[in-house]
Symmetry: C2
Subunit: 463 residues, 2 copies
């Protein structure tokens, strides 16, 4: 029953905003903005007893006055009026709730805990799944539903990564990094105080019910009962790759977690082992989370750890080579056939062994592309890191970049690329090709190597 | 003598471009573009026997036809004609040379080595310092001299960081990252094959002779005689902070270095110890190099390792707290006075101990600023990490950000900030305040913590 309702919650045909507003300093303003400017295509029902129209949309004094069905209610009214509002949601047979309002279990005042108990009881009685309280909401990029107070998340590219987070702030950090790095997302959500939708429920939903989700990223601060999450992850049996960022590692961070979401972060060392056993790959920074999720979403699976580095400049190729070995990968030797072909394509002045310095082929995009293809054909190579730094003289490389897309997909091997240029120079080409045909573009050579390493680690976890 | 000439080389009153061109596919075109579009204020003398005017500037058939003195000659003619050209430079009493042409010691053909020997001999005879061969050149942001084939480096912000690199590709990577991260630079150079200007000469110059350089970053692949660099660094006695990125750590990377710049990278473990002994702080990625150099350049010195984290959102504050401890810093407790003041500024719903969650003060930029000031006044706090994620509802935070600048300088403590927002939202404010009044803005909470940690490590190295 709750499982069925979660589908309606995340892809609602109609949304009521309880506490809708047209004044900028109210969260009800920003939720309305997210739905309206985020181009939500279902019915929007603003609820506010003091207005007849908000955002140009007919407004209702209360939930029960809304004529049609309400699939999702987003609640932003003050904490003490939430139990009454939830009761109304139950009576109206609302299928799901996003409860943005804060001031419950996470505050020092014991009244918060009492109120949260009430909410839980009402939600249970009417079987309403609740995201929150104390959440920024969720964003469904797949269907264009921004049920959060941050409109800008509607600008994130559509894709296969879903982030289930225990912190709204972390969603903001990752959401903006995702925009910068052109990572495609399916859903973005903060669980808040997890009154009845916790990690296991969300994880099950996105693995079992949401085809658009291909990769799951978790941000975990602390859980009183981590077993539910871990067992759910394990039972999903490697159906979709799951990565996790565990915060609250230090003692102080741990006590901050206690206040933030009302639960202890717990001993990090225990978490580390438990994640591994649950087939979850741990990442240790927001940028690593973004890079890894992106590569897992767009690249072909990797079958081994033998990597070739092809770089337009020797230095960046060398640092990628160093970083590869740190990431558990190997710089592979080429077969004789491959080496002979590369020797034909590159003059002796170049470094023609792995990591290859394609410098002398700078002015021949065709030669660079041919080197890439020859390398992908090599049975001893499982993946390629392709690097090019812009220089005033090599605008031609743009053609190579675009060419990459068209030809490499049939090889079914991961290609992680790093194209570095001043703002505005290659932006359009990078935007067009990133994520297409199995190529992921990653910000620096070191991060490209690390992301490729995580692709391999995930392969080991999932098989 | 050579020392005196290096000053002219890096800040020339006149530049001759030998091999100047107006066709896009020649490096001589791009060097001209760098000087002209980069707004070099001295005299430019294009040299090309086949043209009378290039880039609208009178062009000379050879060096000796130039009427005035030539401080710097940038040479892009083919390798075999370089010895003759250098001879002419000597006769013309040119003070310094940038030799972009490649094809010497780094190539497999033994002719390269012979030619390089000739060059060295001529340079020695006339006492001409040469940057290169096999270099992209150098850029002097301080005085607006772009003697390289990449015009776009002229867009880098002016500042105190000088990068001395053994790879031109790495200069491109770091230069573009510097632009993205608004890092101010003094000079950017690639040594190339180091015929007579090597790390020790460049290091001495930028420490002793260049006031604009406040921080030195080195990118090292491998040196046959590392002692010169290490002894020079040590003898400079901590006059300016020096950081280094050592590439070619792996065996394969090492052999790539052999081809790239004609010298072995050498055992990494030995390098690690040697750098430490030479009072050089090692960094291990291009992004860490940028972040660390920037913080060293713009922040006040740090006197201890007790840090406060003030964050607009709990999650990003927690991950900064975790990263701090990994970076060798400590999350400090507040004194009773500080704690009492923070308790007045923040309601009990907030996390008021370190890491502080300023969430409830979101709508009061004044309260956020007051918390920052109270924390900086605390004698038990040596530095502050200040974090704010944009959300649609908190545009007001912009005011806090701008306010930061005006008030925090008198405290003489480092403030590393992390302001994350979608492109276009806070860009102007971030640009205005970054690097001003002791505030460095770093891309993510984890990187902010790492950069602050490196500030402390450098403090330990230099004292």
């Amino acid at each position: 029953m709750m499982n069925e309702k979660l589908k309606w919650l995340f892809s609602p045909g109609s949304v009521a905003v309880i506490g809708a507003s047209d004044s900028f300093d109210k969260l009800g303003y920003h939720v309305m903005k997210s739905l309206v400017k985020g181009r939500y295509r279902g019915a929007i029902y603003p609820v506010n007893p003091k207005a007849e129209k908000l955002w140009g949309i007919r407004t209702y004094p209360s939930l029960k006055d809304i004529p049609g069905e309400v699939d999702l209610a987003v609640i932003v009214v003050p904490a003490p009026s939430v139990p009454g509002t939830l009761q109304e949601c139950g009576q109206k047979m609302v299928k799901g709730v996003v409860l943005i309002t804060a001031g419950y279990k996470e505050i020092e005042d014991s009244q918060g805990e009492t109120l949260e108990g009430e909410i839980k009881e009402i939600a249970g009685r009417y079987e309403i799944p609740i995201i929150g309280p104390n959440t920024f909401g969720f964003v469904n990029m797949t269907d264009g539903v921004n049920a959060s107070f941050t409109y800008e998340f509607s600008l994130i590219k559509k894709g296969g990564v879903t982030l289930i987070s225990q912190s709204g702030g972390f969603c903001h950090l990752c959401g903006f990094l995702a925009m910068e790095e052109r990572m495609g997302m399916a859903k973005l959500m903060s669980l808040g105080n997890r009154v009845n939708v916790d990690f296991p429920e969300a994880l099950r939903h996105f693995i079992e019910e949401d085809d658009a989700t291909r990769v799951i990223a978790l941000y975990i601060e602390g859980l009183d009962e981590p077993r539910g999450l871990l067992e759910m992850a394990r039972s999903m049996g490697g159906k979709k790759p799951i990565i996790a960022y565990k915060a609250g590692k230090s003692e102080k961070g741990d006590s901050a977690s206690r206040f933030h979401t009302g639960s202890l972060a717990g001993k990090y060392e225990i978490w580390k082992g438990a994640l591994r056993q649950a087939r979850i790959l741990e990442v240790t920074s927001a940028e690593e989370l973004i890079d890894t999720a992106k590569v897992l979403d767009v690249c072909a699976p990797i079958k081994g750890n033998r990597i070739a580095v092809l770089s337009g400049q020797a230095g960046p190729g060398m640092i990628a080579a160093d970083a590869l070995e740190d990431a558990g990968l190997k710089l592979a030797g080429f077969t004789t056939t491959t080496q002979e072909k590369i020797n034909e394509l590159l003059p002796p002045v170049a470094i023609r062994t792995n990591p290859v310095d394609m410098g002398p082929a700078w002015y021949s995009p065709k030669a660079m592309l041919d080197i890439l293809k020859v390398t992908l054909e090599d049975e001893g190579i499982d993946g390629v890191i392709f690097i090019a730094m812009f220089a005033s003289a090599n605008l031609e490389v743009t053609k190579t970049m675009e060419g990459l897309m068209k030809d490499i997909e049939p090889f079914k091997k991961p290609v992680v690329a790093c194209f570095t240029a001043p703002a505005g120079v290659w932006d359009e080409e990078i935007k067009r090709m990133d994520g297409e045909k199995g190529v992921a573009i990653i910000h620096t050579p070191e991060r490209a190597a690390k992301a490729m390493g995580n692709l391999w680690k995930m392969q080991l976890i999932m098989r």
